[in-house]
Subunit: 185 residues, 2 copies
């Protein structure tokens, strides 16, 4: 089972990328996590250029999502919401309607910030957006606060309770992959 | 009084750009509206490159906002929220904290979609985001549904009630510009 990890931050030393690495260390047996590294190559969405063939960065994003069995997106929070960069990628991935790469794709959202709330608002908005785009989004969330103190030097979560929560969320994601999609009428 | 109009869509024949043109036709005396045309030149936000001097497209955006007396942003709605392109521009404009161009800037949000709801969710989220970034955001909103039928060939709003609402919103925006900012303690 292949899970595609997408970090919503382009920063080289992104805390959210670290959180995905922490997730990679505690996957259920048989699952592996691949990090998507092309978020910065996705151009600004413009319906005028949303034609076939798609821009190369968009094609790569859509293919990576389509080839994965599930998505794990770790989002920072900018101005109390989803980073524009990440939302722009979802806007491209949500097209063309209705046969987009996100449709019926199992997805989980996690996130971390250097502040006290761990991107809870960004996670809530992103879950809403992904559901709207057709993904099968887990209700679970994982807000990891005070990102600078949250990880060991091996990119593991310092607080055992958060590690357990991440473990449970990953198990739920794998279960969602194994759950048959009900055909819509 | 100079109002900067920002359309959240990069599409050449954007309905939201038309809505800004409709607004330009009904401004209170003494106010003028200038359309910002550089949204597509704003690169994806990345804290690693958020240094002085800022990328040229960002510098232009920040200067246009700082030079204006007020903002009027017209947003489409992608996946039940703010377009990533527009949110990304706000993410750049919200920096550096706390002396960003948006701080204490009077701002109003309007929007139109081809659907029945006129971007109400995108408008609500964008107001929240702009407030968080420090702007003085009007509570008023203007959801214009069924965009393809909403405008005359002269870019005026077909439905008189929506025209009146836009007129009232613009008057409220101008009043907000004339309202002294309370100094924070």
């Amino acid at each position: 089972m292949r899970i595609l990890g997408i970090s919503g931050s382009l920063r080289r030393d992104s805390h959210n990328t670290r959180l995905l690495r922490a997730a990679a260390e505690m996957l259920p047996p048989g699952a592996e996590l691949e990090l998507f590294d092309g978020l910065g190559d996705v151009p600004p969405y413009n319906e005028d250029v949303d034609v076939e063939p798609a821009p190369a960065g968009v094609e790569r994003l859509r293919r990576a999502i389509a080839d994965a069995d599930a998505l794990l997106i770790s989002t920072p929070e900018y101005n109390a919401s989803v980073p524009g960069v990440l939302k722009n990628a979802v806007d491209w991935a949500s097209r063309p309607f209705p046969d987009n790469a996100l449709r019926d794709q199992p997805a989980a959202v996690i996130g971390t910030t250097t502040g006290l709330f761990g991107a809870v608002w960004a996670q809530a908005e992103l879950r809403k957006v992904l559901r709207y785009a057709g993904a099968r989004v887990l209700d679970e969330e994982l807000p990891v606060p005070t990102a600078e103190l949250a990880f060991t030097s091996d990119d593991l979560l310092v607080i055992p309770e958060l590690g357990e929560r991440l473990h449970d969320l990953l198990e739920a994601l794998v279960r969602e992959v194994d759950t048959p999609v009900e055909s819509s009428v």
